[in-house]
């Protein structure tokens, strides 16, 4: 049980590559915090600095109130699950799980009790005598988890633990991980490049890019109020549609204009957008905030587009559209019947429009 505080963390490789830039984070006690971002964004490096596997160039890391900068990994009271599981190939499942306890000189009876308990939680009691190479991917994953939980550490670290599993198993393990965390109530930091994993697992999600934290927040907050264009595009699938627009004023209202699209800026955004009048901005709209117009929609939020590709997914239909030079994706009701090359009229949900500064890319 511990909170983790990162203050002004930087990582330089050989004094040349600035991999992590001035990261400040606070993972609360019992929180499940997820670092997400594209590869090379510094999320794994940050995790490895917390683990003590990577030196900290500058800044301070506290785990449970204790500064751990100069502590070796073994003294930080953490457990880590690696992407490739890192099971000791020459040891049985039991010995793999017992290793950490043996190193800490736990009595034999206690080790046995803890390994049994962990094996029971993970449903691997029958595998204890096997060697890692005799296990399937999912089983190895469980053993790696078991090895982490027998230690009862104050902090769990996960480095993309599910990315070596096939899609179906990944969904299943995701749910199990979440259940496990509820049960163990231990602070956890989890690194992934998969935004779905981040959204489903995290109590709070940290979005990173190029070594910089872009936004920290609860999953739904990231989704509905992205801090900048990167977060908006990274969170959500299919990704948010973007269009370069010019803001202009006419008839007492603000209008956003792009090739093939002309919509009124909703009153809620008007005040903050007014200084951008006559300038360019980026309009962002999620595929699920677009729908086929039904006649009762206000005319200020309508536009026409041509259907390029129809992707029927069963529970929904994805329409790939072109409006002027802008390519858009709309997620519409499966009852909608449209064909390729058809011309359709679409409506924006005015409450769910996002505007981003053209230069800084931050939300307006």
């Amino acid at each position: 049980m511990a909170e983790v505080v990162l203050t002004g963390i930087n990582k330089w490789y050989d004094g040349k590559v600035h991999a992590v830039k001035d990261v400040n984070l606070h993972a609360r006690d019992k929180e499940f915090m997820v670092f997400v971002g594209p590869s090379g964004c510094g999320k794994t490096t940050t995790l490895r600095m917390i683990a003590g596997l990577e030196e900290i160039s500058s800044g301070e890391i506290r785990i449970g109130g204790r500064v751990v900068n100069d502590l070796p990994p073994m003294d930080r009271d953490i457990a880590m699950v690696f992407q490739n599981y890192a099971l000791y190939p020459h040891k049985s499942v039991y010995a793999n799980m017992a290793f950490g306890l043996q190193m800490r000189k736990f009595p034999k009876g206690e080790i046995e009790k803890r390994v049994q308990a962990a094996a029971e939680i993970l449903g691997i009691e029958s595998l204890l005598e096997r060697k890692p190479r005799q296990l399937s991917g999912g089983q190895r994953q469980r053993v790696a988890l078991g090895r982490a939980i027998v230690r009862h550490p104050q902090l769990f670290l996960f480095d993309e633990p599910l990315s070596n599993l096939d899609a179906k198993l990944r969904v299943q393990m995701r749910v199990e991980l979440k259940r496990l965390h509820e049960r163990l109530e231990t602070t956890a930091i989890y690194v992934t490049h998969d935004q779905v994993e981040a959204m489903t697992l995290g109590d709070r999600v940290v979005v990173m890019k190029d070594g910089v934290v872009q936004q920290v927040g609860e999953p739904m907050a990231l989704y509905s109020r992205p801090a900048n264009r990167f977060v908006a595009g990274f969170i959500g699938s299919p990704a948010m549609n973007f269009a370069e627009v010019t803001i202009s004023e006419s008839g007492g209202g603000l209008w956003a204009e792009a090739s093939g699209i002309r919509i009124k800026v909703p009153p809620a955004s008007a005040a903050s957008l007014r200084p951008h009048t006559g300038k360019r901005a980026t309009l962002g709209v999620r595929p699920e905030a677009l729908r086929i117009a039904n006649g009762s929609d206000p005319a200020e939020y309508l536009f026409d587009a041509t259907v390029d590709v129809v992707e029927p997914l069963g529970s929904e239909i994805l329409l790939n559209l072109t409006a002027g030079t802008n390519a858009l994706v709309a997620r519409v009701d499966p009852a909608v019947n449209v064909k390729t090359h058809e011309r359709v009229r679409l409506a924006f949900d005015p409450a769910r429009l996002h505007f981003f500064d053209h230069a800084t890319e931050s939300a307006i």
């Binding site: 000791y88 190939p89 290793f99 890692p132």
Partner: protein, 283 residues
């Protein structure tokens, strides 16, 4: 079509393989036949009517008897075994630590050191024995097994280090990182996790080192002088060629007996050995 494939397989696979095997095994065969061939048959002209150069009609053990009774062969065998064992163990231990350090630790000049060690291995023994002879004389180790036990590692350690460095690099880094988080020190992780996982590589290095010291000739020839201190390769050559007389039968019997332990070591470890050469570790 199937038939065509079959003759192609013969042409490109079985026949070249047979030629290759014949070529590599023939010296061994020749050695074995000569060791069992009685003297009259050995010194008969090839052109004699009854000559059978590729086999023998009256196999005999007289050469083995002569070798074991008339020379110090068993003593040489023991010397060779002892020297090869000690030199191998010293070299393996040094090579394991050095190889690990070069593979895993980042320190200034580590790459240069790796290359330097490899270059040491390339310096020919025929040059090195001259300064080494001086050192051996100064330390008064001449004509003792220590002369070889301590000089063989000069070429075995670079060899073991280089081979094991390559092997350690194939072991996922996460294994020892995990061990270090689990509560092991760097040294503990190396000894408890990396070395056990590297057993195939360590055995391969050991077998190679053992064979190299077993067959070593020039140091043994230079540093050892008395008959009872000699190793098999030197003893057989220096004691069984008297003047310009070659005791072919005993020479070959000695060579045959001398190669048996190495062959046994190979076949005993062959499974690990092959795994070591291909260097596969899967988590």
């Amino acid at each position: 079509m199937v038939i065509e494939r079959r003759w192609k397989k013969w042409l490109y696979f079985y026949i070249p393989l047979a030629v290759f095997i014949l070529f590599t095994l023939f010296p061994f065969y020749w050695m074995a036949v000569t060791a069992f061939r009685p003297d009259p048959e050995l010194y008969r002209s090839w052109r004699a009517a009854s000559a059978t150069p590729f086999w023998t009609l009256e196999p005999t053990l007289e050469h083995f008897k002569g070798l074991l009774e008339g020379s110090e062969f068993l003593q040489w065998l023991w010397n060779t075994m002892l020297i090869a064992m000690v030199a191998t163990i010293i070299s393996l231990i040094c090579g394991m630590f050095a190889g690990y350090a070069l593979a895993r630790l980042k320190f200034r000049g580590s790459e240069f050191l790796g290359t330097a060690i490899f270059i040491t291995y390339l310096v020919p023994q025929t040059l090195l024995f001259i300064p080494l002879a001086d050192i051996i004389r100064n330390m008064q180790l001449g004509n003792t097994p220590w002369a070889l036990m301590l000089t063989y590692p000069t070429f075995l350690i670079p060899f073991c280090t280089w081979l094991l460095m390559g092997y350690f690099k194939t072991i996922p880094r996460e294994l020892e990182e995990c061990a270090r988080i689990d509560g092991a020190t760097r040294f503990g992780a190396m000894v408890r996790i990396i070395f056990p996982v590297a057993v195939p590589g360590i055995l391969s290095a050991g077998i190679f080192a053992f064979t190299l010291s077993w067959n070593e000739f020039i140091y043994a020839l230079v540093f050892l002088s008395s008959v009872e201190q000699k190793t098999v390769p030197v003893g057989v050559v220096s004691e069984l060629i008297r003047g310009d007389t070659f005791f072919w039968g005993q020479l070959m019997a000695g060579a045959l007996l001398g190669s048996v332990p190495v062959a046994l070591a190979y076949s005993f470890f062959v499974e690990y050995y092959v795994a070591g050469l291909t260097g596969s570790v899967k988590g």
